[in-house]
């Protein structure tokens, strides 16, 4: 196993040593977090602990990526349709 893979595996095992939200709080805040990200606001300052949770929870991370992608795709569709 390469050093990078090893660090990745150890990272999954050890997590991050900083305060983080739980899955339920993450879900509650996810929509606001993604919209702040999309307009270039400091989402991490607005919702402390959410980024750390996304780093530690693969399921919530996937759902964050999906919501970002869905909104981005929707924006493109609107542009193509001439709404923006």
């Amino acid at each position: 196993m390469e050093q990078r893979d090893l660090k990745h595996t150890l990272g999954r095992l050890l997590g991050v040593a900083e305060p983080e939200l739980g899955c339920d709080e993450c879900f509650d805040e996810l929509d606001r977090y993604v919209e702040l990200e999309r307009v270039g606001e400091d989402a991490d300052a607005a919702i402390p602990g959410l980024r750390a949770h996304l780093d530690g929870c693969s399921a919530c991370r996937e759902e964050h990526e999906s919501l970002r992608a869905l909104l981005a795709g929707e924006q493109v569709s609107r542009r193509l349709a001439g709404h923006i």
């Binding site: 050093q3 090893l6 919209e35 399921a59 992608a69």
Partner: protein
């Protein structure tokens, strides 16, 4: 009447806090029967869009599922998400657009269903039988020795510092890649409770390693 006053106060707050589109959604969903039915149908369509989006994203990882099975999963996810959204409508505070808030329910339901479908009938690996993954390759002797020390300490900490439940959860989620929703279902618990267990197990491991002067940051590269 007290209830009317409360409704009026809520409407006043919403009129200043919510964007026009979100206000329209809420008003329609609280409207008379015909208006509400039409809004619920639009809401379902929105959730189905989110669920199909999630299905499409995950489709390459689910080659054994036929198109109609995936359509059914998306529809079930939209149906379940609709129930969740309607039950939690009063929780919407306008922190995002209503449609963004709604989408996350559709995405979540579809993701959970697809994770469960992917692991349906599979035995969950709950024991650390994949330590051989840790065998290093192509490293210089000093780095290899450093790795061996850290890995041995991690393995010892997993056995010595964690409770059996923490060990099973950590190994399944962090080492063996079992999705948290799948493990939660098999152990009859929730995603939130399992993540708390994972979080506590990780903290114990870090604390154990720090006692020996070891940390992830001590690995170079």
């Amino acid at each position: 009447m007290h209830a009317d006053r409360k409704t009026n106060e809520a409407a006043a707050v919403e009129s200043t806090q919510f964007d026009p589109d979100s206000r329209e959604w809420l008003a329609s969903l609280r409207g008379d029967e015909a208006v509400r039915d039409e809004a619920v149908a639009r809401l379902h369509a929105l959730l189905l869009r989110a669920a199909r989006f999630e299905v499409a994203r995950r489709r390459p990882t689910l080659p054994y599922l036929r198109g109609d099975e995936l359509d059914d999963i998306a529809l079930e996810a939209a149906d379940d998400a609709l129930m969740s959204v309607l039950a939690k409508l009063e929780d919407f505070r306008g922190a995002s657009r209503f449609t963004t808030w709604v989408y996350k329910f559709g995405l979540l339901e579809a993701a959970v269903k697809l994770r469960k479908r992917a692991w349906q009938g599979r035995e969950l690996p709950l024991e650390p039988d994949t330590w051989n993954l840790f065998a290093s390759a192509g490293l210089d002797p000093d780095t290899a020795a450093e790795q061996r020390e850290l890995l041995a300490a991690v393995q010892t900490a997993i056995v010595d510092a964690l409770t059996p439940h923490q060990r099973r959860v950590l190994v399944a989620l962090a080492l063996n890649g079992v999705p948290i929703d799948v493990l939660a279902e098999r152990l009859s618990t929730t995603r939130g409770a399992l993540y708390k267990t994972l979080h506590d197990a990780r903290a114990k491991l870090r604390e154990h390693l720090e006692r020996f002067g070891l940390s992830l940051e001590s690995l170079e590269g």
